[in-house]
């Protein structure tokens, strides 16, 4: 007799000591169920949450809810629509958009959002509007922003978090940009703008108000309405091999501008900004990015720079481990090294070290000991058209700062 399944006995033959049961077999025996019970008790709350999430996914798939919502919020051709928006600084809200309404690639957006302590943003924006055929591109912005709890730590490179205060900053901005592109890589812009600033006491009760600690004379710009005019010229060169996840090449921008008070002659200054980034491919999508940047503000004779217009270290695009507004002064320089590596098909991780310093005159007052170093890392989710979301954690002497952006 050969041991092959074809020769295996029929049910009757096999059942010399047992009978073929027509009962469904349990996947676990009794002792396994008993032993697993404590674990199941612990897992139960997770099970509930995961089951609910799975159910929601199934429900969405069954009824195509996400597509129906998008269809409801956008026009049939996708050119008009309303989308939710979120930004930590201005909160959550909605954005109406209209694409290709004047020319191809043009876009109009109207945004309204609000957040904690009545942070508000209302904005009308026109992008990529062609002028004179396609000789020039233009963009237009009208914006109202209210930040009731902007932070202020003092001026200079050695300010302490013990001196933190907060102030309210409202602004109404109007801006026109005229741009000219030269080839694929070079772009020059002319920006004309007006901004009405109103500064008042901060609304975060956990910290003292800046208006309680400083006077208008000790801190230029405090408790003063002003209307600032702005003229700015920018040159940009983009030599990266691709705009999303660049692995080689460099990009640079040079911005020079004048800002002057229009309703009085208290404030007036020039600003020069330089930014240079270069990308170095190490091996198989492992990239090093080096960055050097600086901002240099210089007041006109007998005029001042409002403290909220000073160069700043602490914004997301500066040093990532610092609190917003952490260091302010006329000049700022920073350097950054970032190592990027892929961890999934649409997800990259990165590690960075940022360093920078503010000073009244960086060329005269730069001190190595005053350099602020922060480090950290994060993740960027991307697709071919751009970065979808980024989460970054920056660590510095003052603690941890979380940056999250969603496009």
């Amino acid at each position: 007799m050969k041991a092959q399944s074809s020769d295996v006995e029929s049910d009757e033959e096999a059942a010399d000591s047992t009978r073929a049961s027509s009962e469904k077999r349990p996947s676990r025996e009794l002792w396994e169920r008993v032993l697993s019970f404590p674990g199941e008790v612990v897992y139960f709350p997770f099970w509930l949450g995961l089951t609910a999430a799975g159910g929601a996914i199934a429900l969405n798939e069954e009824y195509d809810i996400d597509r129906k919502v998008i269809d409801f919020l956008t026009s049939e051709d996708g050119r008009l629509g309303v989308l939710p928006v979120f930004e930590p600084r201005s909160g959550a809200g909605a954005q109406f958009f209209a694409r290709d309404y004047l020319n191809e690639r043009s876009k109009f957006t109207a945004t309204a959002s609000a957040g904690l302590r009545a942070r508000q943003l209302y904005e009308l924006r026109f992008k990529r509007v062609d002028l004179f055929g396609s000789l020039l591109t233009s963009a237009y912005l009208v914006q109202y922003r209210s930040q009731p709890d902007e932070r202020f730590f003092g001026i200079g490179p050695t300010t302490s978090t013990d001196n933190e205060s907060n102030f309210k900053h409202e602004s109404i901005t109007g801006r026109i940009l005229l741009g000219k592109r030269f080839g694929e890589r070079f772009q020059t812009d002319l920006v004309l703008g007006l901004r009405h600033n109103i500064v008042a006491g901060g609304e975060d009760d956990r910290k003292p108000s800046t208006t309680e600690l400083f006077t208008e004379s000790s801190l230029p710009g405090l408790e003063k309405e002003n209307l600032m005019g702005e003229v700015q010229v920018a040159f940009q060169y983009d030599g990266r091999n691709r705009p999303v996840r660049p692995s080689s090449g460099f990009e640079t921008s040079l911005v020079g501008g004048v800002r002057s008070q229009m309703n009085n002659d208290l404030f007036g200054f020039t600003v020069v900004e330089v930014d240079l980034k270069t990308y170095l491919h190490i091996h198989r999508a492992r990239i090093l990015r080096f960055r050097l940047a600086g901002q240099f503000a210089d007041p006109f004779d007998d005029r001042e720079i409002p403290f909220y217009e000073l160069s700043e270290l602490g914004r997301t695009e500066t040093i990532r481990g610092l609190t917003r507004g952490r260091f302010r002064d006329r000049d700022m320089i920073l350097g950054s090294v970032e190592y990027r590596y892929p961890i999934w098909r649409v997800l990259d991780a990165h590690l960075f070290v940022d360093a920078g310093q503010v000073a009244g005159s960086i060329f005269d007052d730069f001190k190595t000991g005053d350099l602020e170093f922060t480090f950290g890392g994060g993740f960027r989710m991307w697709k071919r058209s751009g970065i979808l979301a980024a989460l970054q954690l920056g660590f510095g002497d003052d603690g941890v700062r979380v940056h999250f952006t969603l496009n």
Binding site: M1, A14, S17, K24, I57, H283, R345
Partner: protein, 569 residues
């Protein structure tokens, strides 16, 4: 569930009263129960499983949501397993749960899921080429009426009714990748069928697009349903590859007979199918599918690439289980070549993402390197860095995760049962225009087959094909027979009623052409003989675990008969 032929085991003696113990006692018991299996002097065979092709009433249609299923497998169940004490304990003690539908010889019987084919008896070349096909495919002279269409998504296609009333799903090659997807579909159909699985009848066809007629078809257009028109047909055809003579190469997949009731799951049983008794995660053919699917680069083994049909055969109506949709096997991803990561990462793989994050990009896996598409008609398919056990699928599969060494051996027996000639025959059905491409594909299939063989045959006792005749127990060493070991060498011990008759007898075979090894059995007397065997496995001198063959003597005739084979894991 274990049926005891010769007295209860210690595990069973305790099993009935376990619920009365407190937790600590339960843990102690479980440990003892797990260990008890090693010292068992009797032999256990699984409860026999009744034929699952009995007449049953029609079950309901079942739907599985792809994303929700992916979330369940990739997130919920993976997380839940961390809290599964019994599973973790089994892992800790190396006592995995064995498949529940095996017979006394560690094989599975033919069922509504599986039919023993090539591994049981070499199929002739013509049968390999024919596969599941019973006819000649759609009639290409007359008009084809489109009765269903998929206009959106990355892989367009439609369903037609030919001039003779035959209904087929028509699948294409993506533009720029001629022969790639259709070949994968055809070749894998033949190989999965010859392995034993139920597959649809898939036919290679070349048709003139002029024979297409748009029938009364509703399609989805941006979420809205509307009638299909000629423009939609043109849009579909614009996205598929066309041969130089204007004809279109396609696979025509014949509608499966019976009432289609949706995909099957790789876990639990179907509640409305009284024949479905064994939890799917514990079915040998679904666990072992992991080995065969890895061989054929069948990454997309999600539930929705299976199909249950309520069929009528031999006057009985029951549920038959099919594997479908092989367009994403071998080097094809359906609409493009296989991406390099396929087989090495799940679609979303939190475990791998975590490892990659912690590795800081310093580790570059070997599969990222040195891989190229040699033929556009094949896509990305090679044996570079192929590992049969580490191969990853679209998302974790509960049946695959339960694979034991015995299941792996079962799967490897099927994979290695395919001869070079059979593989050439299977590839020939794709009618590659470039013979070099066909030769390359056959070469890779052979290489991957041998990697599978070398891997699994070096982990278990590979003595097989047992037979008793003329007072001797004969068998073969599959690893030796199939060329994965240079020589067969084994030791045996014979016991009768617990008493040792022969201890550590040695057998050796150096020449594959001389056939099987043979052990003379002691003179016939009534009773049960246990022949314990172990063999050298792998490349070195490592011994396998013992395997026991039980031989009974008929009281009247004195003939020997095989009773059971107990293979260690």
């Amino acid at each position: 569930m274990i049926g005891i032929l010769r007295g209860p085991t210690p595990a069973d003696q305790h099993g009935g009263s376990l619920s009365h113990f407190v937790l600590r006692a339960a843990v102690v018991f479980v440990v003892l129960a797990l260990l008890a299996g090693c010292s068992n002097t009797g032999f256990n065979v699984p409860d026999p499983v009744p034929d699952d092709r009995r007449d049953i009433p029609p079950p309901n249609k079942q739907k599985i949501h792809i994303l929700a299923d992916g979330f369940d497998k990739q997130i919920s169940r993976q997380f839940g397993q961390m809290f599964d004490n019994s599973r973790n304990l089994r892992k800790l003690f190396g006592k995995p749960k064995q498949a529940m539908n095996v017979n006394a010889f560690d094989e599975i019987d033919d069922s509504s899921w599986f039919t023993n084919r090539n591994a049981k008896k070499q199929m002739p070349i013509e049968e390999i080429k024919r596969g599941p096909n019973t006819g000649g495919g759609p009639e290409t002279a007359g008009p084809w009426t489109i009765i269903g269409a998929k206009t959106e998504g990355v892989t367009p296609g439609f369903t037609i009714e030919d001039s003779e009333g035959g209904r087929f799903v028509i699948k294409f090659d993506p533009k720029g990748w001629p022969e790639m997807t259709t070949s994968a579909e055809l070749i894998s159909t033949k190989l999965f069928y010859a392995s034993g699985y139920n597959t649809p009848e898939n036919y290679l066809t070349y048709f003139d697009p002029k024979i297409l007629r748009v029938g009364d078809v509703m399609i989805e257009d941006n979420g809205e349903k509307r009638s299909m028109n000629e423009n939609d047909l043109r849009n579909i055809l614009a996205r598929v590859d066309t041969a130089r003579d204007g004809k279109i190469r396609a696979v025509a997949s014949k509608f499966i007979d019976g009432k289609l009731i949706g995909p099957f799951k790789y876990h639990k049983t179907r509640k409305d199918d009284p024949n479905d008794l064994i939890p799917h995660e514990h079915r040998r053919e679904l666990r072992g599918l992991r080995v065969i699917a890895a061989w054929l680069n069948h990454y997309d083994t999600k539930a929705n690439n299976s199909l249950d049909a309520y069929v009528e055969e031999d006057g009985r109506r029951f549920v038959k289980h099919f594997l479908i949709d092989f367009g994403s096997t071998l080097g094809s991803e359906g609409d493009e070549p296989k991406p390099v990561w396929t087989g090495y990462e799940n679609t979303f793989d939190p475990h791998q993402v975590t490892l990659n994050t912690l590795a800081l990009g310093l580790y570059v896996p070997s599969w990222e390197k040195k891989r190229e598409i040699r033929y556009r008609s094949i896509g990305l398919f090679d044996s570079h860095a192929f590992h049969p056990q580490k191969f990853k699928f679209i998302f974790p599969n509960l049946a695959f995760e339960n694979l034991t060494k015995r299941d792996g051996y079962w799967g490897a027996k099927i994979v290695t049962s395919f001869t070079d000639e059979q593989l050439e025959a299977a590839v020939s059905v794709a009618e590659y225009s470039d013979p070099n491409a066909a030769a390359y594909l056959v070469g890779v299939l052979k290489e991957r087959r041998d990697i599978v063989g070398r891997y699994w045959f070096s982990r278990v006792n590979t003595l097989d094909n047992f037979d008793v005749a003329d007072g001797a127990l004969s068998f073969t060493d599959l690893a030796f027979e199939r060329g994965y070991r240079a020589q067969a060498q084994c030791q045996y011990t014979i016991r009768k009623n617990g008493e040792i008759i022969t201890e550590y007898g040695e057998l050796e075979e150096l020449d594959r052409s001389t056939g099987s090894l043979s052990i003379p059995l002691p003179p016939s007397e009534s009773g049960l003989l246990e022949v314990r065997l172990r063999n050298r496995i792998g490349d070195g001198d490592k011994w396998s675990k013992w395997l026991s063959v039980y031989v009974n003597t008929d009281d009247d005739s004195g003939d020997y008969s095989l009773v059971a084979i107990m293979r260690g894991d």
